[in-house]
């Protein structure tokens, strides 16, 4: 038996671990990329009818941004001003309020401003589960009802330039 084999195996493992350290374990792509959005129908905040649904997204002509948020989520407050700016730049943003009460959502939007074309109230979190959401906030890029991209966590300006714009451009 060559006595150097254990040492060689260990070196290979160390190298892999070293490379592994530079990877970001929270960077997990969505299983749903290039799939149609899961079917859903949500009541719009401030109304009683199910007016915001997967159908809305499928018939939407523009490439749109869909943002899961909640008034109880601190990072969402950080992200919100940037969403307002995106709205001003002319992007169309749909919102889903995840596990939140209508009263709180309304107050949140009154205080922080409303960047959303429509806001669906996902009170029991079912739609969030269908989308595979596991942290607040999360943002999707959707074209003709097809999911193109998923971003976890608040969107920072630099990330938007680097990650979102190429996809938004190519999807157009």
């Amino acid at each position: 038996m060559n006595k150097f084999i254990p040492f060689a195996i260990f070196c290979a493992i160390s190298l892999a671990l070293y490379v592994g350290l530079s990877l970001n374990p929270s960077n997990i792509p969505s299983e749903l990329i290039n799939d149609p959005v899961p079917e859903f129908a949500l009541t719009e905040v401030g109304s009683d009818t199910a007016s915001f649904s997967s159908e809305t997204l499928a018939t939407e002509e523009d490439v749109i941004i869909m943002n899961f948020f909640a008034s109880w989520c601190a990072p969402c407050y950080v992200e919100h001003p940037f969403l307002m700016e995106l709205k001003n730049r002319g992007y169309k943003i749909y919102g889903v309020a995840y596990k939140d009460r209508a009263r709180n959502i309304t107050r949140f939007l009154e205080e922080q401003g409303n960047p959303y074309t429509q806001v669906g109230a996902d009170e029991n979190g079912r739609v969030g589960i269908e989308f595979g959401v596991y942290g607040m906030p999360e943002t999707y890029i959707i074209k003709n009802g097809i999911i193109k991209y998923k971003h976890i966590g608040p969107i920072l300006e630099m990330q938007f330039e680097d990650e979102f714009i190429p996809i938004l451009e190519s999807a157009r």
């Binding site: 006595k3 254990p6 260990f10 160390s14 892999a16 671990l17 592994g20 350290l21 530079s22 374990p25």
Partner: protein
Amino acid sequence: MIVELGHFALILACLLSFIQGTFPLYGALKNRGRLMSLSAPAAYGQFFFVAISFFALMYAFIVSDFSVVNVAKNSHTLKPLLYKISATWGSHEGSILFWAFVLALYGAMVAYFGRRLPKSFHVTVLAVQAMVGFGFYLFLLLTSNPFERVFPFPMEGNGLNPLLQDPGLAFHPPLLYMGYVGLSVTFSFAVGALIAGRVDAAWARWVRPWTLLAWCFLTAGLSLGSWWAYYELGWGGWWFWDPVENAAFMPWLVATGLLHSAIVVEKRDTLKAWTILLAIIAFSFSLLGTFIVRSGVLTSVHAFATDPERGVFILAFLFLVIGGSLLLFAMRADRLQPGGLFAPVSRESMLVINNLLLSVAALVVLFGTLYPLLRDALTGDKITVGPPFFNMAFGFLMIPLLLVMGLGPSTNWKRADLVGLLGRLKFIMLAALLATIVIFYIVDGGEIMAAVWLGLGLWLLLSTLFEWAERVKLFKSGFMARIIRQPRASMGMSFGHLGLAIAVIGISGTSYWNLEHQDIMRYGDSASIGGYDVTLRDTDGIAGPNYTAVKATFDVSRDGSTITTLEPEARVYMTPPMPTTEAAILSTLSADLFVVIGEANNKEHTEWAVRLYYKPLQLWLWAGVAIMVLGGLISLSDRRFRMGAPTRGYK
């Protein structure tokens, strides 16, 4: 003030470990008695100062001194005292300090109990132990200082993850660490032997008790963690093949192999290089486990504070310690000449098979744990390796292991007669087979694999009892005296194997015959599972010291007669805000009934989500593991291993 003392003591311990790791070693190489005599006092001193340091941190937690960053991040004034204390080792910094503390404790024990070892060897072992310690002290002082202050200090702490606020988990890390770090002693002995270029029976007699001690702690720690997962996570599972679990399981597998190969070195003076290699690998897995848990290189439900910079430090340290010792092994292993020869069928071969299977199993677990990482690093694909892979690959290896385990103890050293052996044990095989068929008939069948595992468990149980009965010549005159007077090591072996047999039977029951029932229940509704009728009587809002909870009351009856009431809780902790489930479990020898209360299904709080699990033979698993630990402790009390006993032959 006390916190600063702790910090200062930590620096002193670091310096002492440097002294212990260098000057006496130089003295040993140059044969300078005065330099060598520095060794033991340095080991005691190091332990003394790191103990001061550790208890200073514990003090800061007990009095909730939030000017210490670590306390502010991990404690809270409302937390019960037990969890304030356990938070000392619950945080990243604290757990590393605890590592260093246990390492120094073992170092001091080796210094004391090993004082009759040949001086130069004793000094070398302590030096290796100190060098590992030095790395941990540097890691603490440079990247993870537990005594760092913050100003202005917060009025209240962040609290500890509520899932961890549980008596089972308060003691799980210390036990596990005692096991992890206990393997450092075996490692130091192995590296010492490589430096000295000599391994003999006396060496094995020295190494075995330390391995046994570490193994007992590891087994107890692992099972306590598993038990916690079982009753706290609320899914009725007890093993998830999570990277952090695997990190603790790999050293256990290798330590189990080491335990057995050291016997061969002791009795037959062979398998030396292999045993040394196992000793190095066992501790390497301990270090690797620490790296995996502390660096954040793998995602896991055990989401501890993670930091890549610390990861680089640990990896560099890992490379020095493991890589260095493996290189030393590669250069020196040839000097370890094997002694006794043995035939292909013999006790030695059985132990070699045991070693091979356990090592391959450890490699399989390592591969499954690291594969997602390798794949991500090479191709960028994100995948997870889940229980199906581990259950299949690991299970596949355990089948021959359990088969051989039944044969091994009845096999002679040097050369055995396979035909005669199988002839002696054929009735046992037949009995195990028959018992499996009968049990299958009684419980109305099940999966094939269920029968395989049940059969293997029964085979091991019966063959272990048979070997024991043969050994003590049961029912022949004077057998009572023989039962009591047999060597403790053999007694321990019987208990150890018996424990595993019982655990395997338990695993087959709980894995293959479990039942699950989820339901929305109103007050007065009943659900039946595994012959029990479970009725939701009432729910009640209650408040604990740092949580509020819904407590449900279930009446449990069987065949119309009430047996007991079960009261599961759904708690919501305040700091940090987090829901936890407190399952209520009715444990009997035949099965566990496991009840979990979930969320209310309507706004009036009259309908509740309820989960019921029926887990046959679950108790057997815990009992089996406890018997295994008991076996280890009995073996540890063997006269041969009395740590202070003079060693012969090692000159």
